[in-house]
Symmetry: C2
DNA sequence: CGGTCCATGTAAGATGTTACATGATTGG
DNA sequence: CCAATCATGTAACATCTTACATGGACCG
C-alpha cells in the first residue's frame, strides 16, 4: 500500500531521525536527483506512514513558533523498506521533454536548435562536475556495501554515468545538425 | 498553454494524419520510449488542441461501429510545435524507482539484492538489443536532419546510450555487492 | 526593519490512471 | 465461438503542483 514517496521517506529515516522539514530538504538534495516531492506532499505522506505504524514521531521544542516533530522508523517500517528494496521496480512511464523535442527537431530552425542543445549540454556539464565531486567525497564507501554511504555512492555513480552519456549524445546530435 | 502531451501529439501529426487510436498506439511505441499517455488522456487532449485550432479532424467511415476521426495539424499547430522544439526544456522532477531502491540497498539482503539487479540488467540488455536493431534500420537518416526519420534516429540513439550506461552501472554495482 | 531560514499544515487545481461503456470485424 | 483488434468516449480516483496561511529567530 505504501507509495514510492513513502519508501523514499523511509529510506531517509532509516539513516537517522528527521523532521518533515528536513525530509523536504533532502528530497531536493541529494534524493532529489532521482526522486522529488514538495513539503505539502511530504506532510500528508508522513501522516499516512504513521497511521500504518511505519514511522512514529516525538515532539521536541524547536526554535520557531511551532514544535518540531522528530520522525523515526519503526521496526515494522524498516522491515517494509528492506523487503521493498529487492522487489523488481515497476517500469514507470518515461517522460523526457528533451527527447520529445528532439523527436521533432527535423522541422525546427537548425540555428535555434543548436543554440538550445548547446545550452542543454552546458547544463549537463555543470551537473557532471558537481556529481564527480560528490562521488570523489564518497569514494571510500566502495568497500562497505552494508553502510548507508554505499547507497549515496552507488546513486551518484549513476548520476555521473547518466550525465556523461547525455553529454556524449548531445555531442553526436550537434555533429549531425547543419551550421 | 499547450501541455507536453499536446506537443507529443503535434509531433506525431506533423508526420502525417492519424486517428486518436493511432496516436495511442504510437504513444506506446515508439514515442512511448520517452513519453507516454493512455487513450483516455489522448482523446481529451485532442479536443483541447482542436479548440485551440492547432489540429482539425475529418470524419471518415471506419471498419468498426463508429466513424474514425482523422486528425491533421493546422498551419498554426505546426508553427506552435516548431517554436516549442527550440525552447529550453523545463527540468522535470526525475523519478527513478531503481535508484530509489539502490539508495537503501545497504540494508537489504545482498543475495536478494543481487537477484533483483541481475534481472534488471537482463531486461536492459533485451531493450538494448531492440534499440540497436531500430538504430540500424534508421541509420540512413544520419545525413538528413530535416527529415522526420532523423528524429527517430536521434531518439533511438539516446535509447542505445542510456541502456548501455545503465547496464554498465548495474555491472559496477554487482561487482561491489558481496556473494 | 526587511529578507531568509525554520517549521507545519490546508485547499484548489492540474495531470494522469483505472475502470466503465459500447460494438463491429477478423483470425484461429 | 472466443479472443483480439479497431475505435471512441466518460467518470471516478489517485497523485502532484501551486497557492494560501502562520509566525518566531537571526542576519545585515
Amino acid at each position: 500500500m505504501t507509495s514510492s514517496l513513502g519508501y523514499a521517506i523511509l529510506g531517509l529515516l532509516a539513516r537517522g531521525p528527521l523532521t518533515g522539514y528536513d525530509l523536504a530538504q533532502r528530497l531536493r538534495t541529494p534524493v532529489g536527483y532521482f526522486w522529488t516531492a514538495r513539503h505539502s506532499q511530504i506532510y500528508t505522506e508522513l501522516a499516512r506512514l504513521e497511521k500504518d505504524r511505519l514511522v512514529r514521531h516525538a515532539v521536541v521544542p524547536g526554535p520557531g513558533p511551532r514544535d518540531n516533530k522528530r520522525y523515526t522508523v519503526t521496526a515494522r517500517g524498516r522491515r517494509s523498506l528492506r523487503d521493498w528494496v529487492v522487489t523488481p521496480p515497476a517500469s514507470a512511464p518515461p517522460k523526457n521533454e528533451l527527447l520529445l523535442r528532439v523527436y521533432s527537431v527535423w522541422l525546427a530552425d537548425p540555428r535555434q536548435a543548436r543554440e538550445m542543445l548547446v545550452a542543454e549540454q552546458a547544463k549537463h556539464l555543470d551537473t557532471l562536475g558537481a556529481f564527480e565531486q560528490i562521488a570523489a567525497r564518497n569514494a571510500d564507501a566502495e568497500g562497505h556495501p552494508d553502510e548507508p554511504s554505499f547507497g549515496d555512492l552507488a546513486t551518484v555513480q549513476a548520476g555521473v554515468g547518466y550525465e556523461r552519456f547525455t553529454i556524449a549524445w548531445l555531442g553526436w546530435l550537434l555533429d549531425h545538425l547543419p551550421e
